[in-house]
Symmetry: C2
Subunit: 197 residues, 2 copies
């Protein structure tokens, strides 16, 4: 069986609980590779190269852009962020599915260059619920909350470009749905590469 893996792109606004949902799915499935982004921002306390991010210099990052070794990249607040192409290709080639957790703009770029990528949007049950969660952290100023809510509305406006929507009302149910999406794609005839003998 030499099936190729599927590339999954996961997007959701800040505060929706993507991390928790993804963690549960990753722990419960085999043959899954979670892509690690590259960035030029400085590592924060406790962050390790190759774990949270691949930390690159600006020069290294721009070289990778020129070499076409990034699946997508963007610049935010003066720093580059991007998805290294080599490990994605490598794991897909080994028949593993690859998960990218990236923002709307990056997701749309991936969809353009890889039309076979499967886009999954993790949505809050409502904007009100998202705002409650952001406030629930209790540490943010009003202006920060409003800035995040505006960013969330921009992200969510892109939902129409996604194939699947997982509504994170309850973490277990959301993880179950995301897991079902990944597993069902492995059952597609065109992916399964199954021949009866």
């Amino acid at each position: 069986m030499n099936r190729k893996g599927t590339l999954f792109v996961i997007t959701g606004p800040s505060g929706v609980g993507k991390g928790t949902v993804l963690q549960r799915v990753i722990q419960s499935m085999d043959r899954l590779y979670f892509s690690i982004s590259a960035t030029t921002r400085n590592p924060r306390e406790g962050e390790q190269d190759g774990v949270q991010y691949h930390f690159l210099t600006r020069e290294q990052f721009e070289q990778r852009i020129r070499q076409g070794r990034l699946l997508e990249y963007a610049e935010y607040v003066g720093n580059y962020y991007g998805t290294p192409l080599d490990p994605v290709e490598e794991h897909l080639g080994q028949g593993e599915d690859v998960l990218l957790e990236i923002e709307l703009q990056g997701a749309l770029k991936v969809k353009e260059t890889r039309p076979d990528a499967v886009l999954v949007f993790i949505a809050p049950p409502s904007y009100h619920a998202l705002e409650t969660r952001l406030r629930g952290r209790g540490t943010e100023e009003e202006a920060v909350i409003q800035k995040r809510m505006n960013a969330a509305r921009r992200e969510c406006a892109g939902m129409e470009h996604y194939q699947y929507i997982v509504v994170n009302e309850q973490v277990e149910a959301a993880a179950d749905e995301l897991r079902a999406i990944l597993l069902s794609c492995r059952c597609l005839r065109t992916k399964r590469g199954f021949a009866l003998e």
Copy 2:
């Protein structure tokens, strides 16, 4: 939320273990309606009208054909078998998914008239494994086994028309896959009918 359900067509050769797999899925999911076929054959010992089949006279069945009240039908060994359309429409309209367990020819007819139907084929891991299972029952003559294997090969040749393939090597895993297919289709953006407010 007034989403319409999805129509799933499940096919697999005799002896593949469809019944067991389906039973587990039906027991573990809500909003699922399992279609009951109509037939003109006589009820067997213990069979009840409306449970295993809707038992109809030949005249009643042919009237339903003329009225267009069958989603598909076929004649086998002098008896009609078919899928009543009304309950299918009714349950789909209520947002429930509908499962039809039918043979290849019927499945292809459904796909023709309902291109949005999702076709799932339940396959044995190999022909050898299927034959072993058929023999395992221990009650059949060699000629009967060979006849079943020939029928199985004809059914399986149609696998290429199916969107999903579930390989029933181990019942739990197969049920998990079928369940994932059903659940993932509920997460399709076009099906979910989800609007953030």
